[in-house]
Symmetry: C2
Subunit: 202 residues, 2 copies
């Protein structure tokens, strides 16, 4: 492989290949694009990746994104008391997805992952102890589990409900069912059977 | 959209979305991964993108990659006279692909694209005049057109053969045919009919 004669290229390919959804071939394509077709973009990516970590940080309590330069010593999300609900999500993209609906006014708590022993993620790696602390401090009445409907998400929901029940908090999770605009004919069996079990009264 | 409240995140997403093969959704996924799961990687990408452009440059004659810090005033590829063949490719990934075969010892000339009026790439945007200059200077005997077998590649090959014929140079292009290890049954009609036309004698 002749690319190894160019350590700068090799390092850049290896860095891009570590990003989610990008394999070694796509990384190579990206680097050659930067080298020969868009050298300016390379500088733009360098500076924006640099300032990303410098300008954005995570709230030490709820792990929500906060502007590093803001003078607040706490994030606005942490202390929303009215309505007293906390929505628990896996990561920040889920926060933005739920905020886009405009249908939730409570505060969020970002777990920073899901429990998945096979991938080496244990409960201690997540922000669960901070969540318990927050619920106790705020006197939260309801917690909404908004985790992805897959193996790790369901497992984490189960674990959290066992941990949080003793705190006397009401626990709910997002409804599973047929998505709007879909067709019954093409809906998978598990989703359809879940939507029968959880049918709602009119 | 609440992401606009974080200009650093928005800028980073926009930068990644400009890379080939990455859309706005993948770019968002990458940026949230950098923010919450791998903050070190963000710095690695920043520094490697920075040094990519600083450490690697393009030869002004043949557009091959050269180490910027090397003291040579010309690239080694430019002046290979024996064997006196020049292989013409679209971009650098094609150079590495051909070098990996170990079956070509001549020099390369990188066009930096293909003629494609619909995408706004005219012959003047490519390194064709430098190629003509090199062929005249080196007294090149043969030129191999190694362009991708698609509309733009075939069109550029046709254009180049018209430009280069008057120089008295022998022009060939990579054989089209059925790929090794494939099955006739699943080969498309155009490839199969080309492989019949260009059949080789045993």
């Amino acid at each position: 492989m002749v690319i190894s004669r160019f350590p700068a290229i090799e390092q850049c390919i290896n860095a891009f290949a570590k990003l989610p959804g990008i394999g070694p071939k796509s990384a190579q394509r990206i680097v050659f694009h930067l080298l020969s077709k868009d050298t300016k973009l390379s500088k733009v990516i360098a500076s924006s990746c640099d300032s990303l970590i410098d300008k954005i940080s995570l709230c030490p309590n709820c792990s929500m994104l906060i502007q590093s330069e803001s003078k607040d010593d706490h994030c606005r999300n942490c202390f929303i008391k009215d309505p007293p609900e906390i929505c628990i999500v896996e990561d920040h993209s889920d926060v933005f997805a739920i905020q886009r609906t405009g249908n939730f006014r409570g505060s969020f708590h970002v777990l920073m992952g899901l429990i998945s022993p096979l991938d080496g993620t244990e409960p201690e790696d997540l922000t669960i102890s901070l969540l318990v602390e927050r619920i106790k401090t705020l006197g939260t009445k309801e917690v909404i589990l908004a985790l992805n409907p897959n193996m790790a998400g369901e497992g984490t929901s189960l674990y959290l409900s066992k941990i949080l029940k003793p705190l006397g908090v009401k626990i709910s999770k997002l409804a599973r069912g047929i998505p709007m605009g879909s067709q019954l004919e093409y809906t998978d069996e598990i989703t359809l059977s879940r939507s029968i079990e959880d049918r709602t009264e009119l």
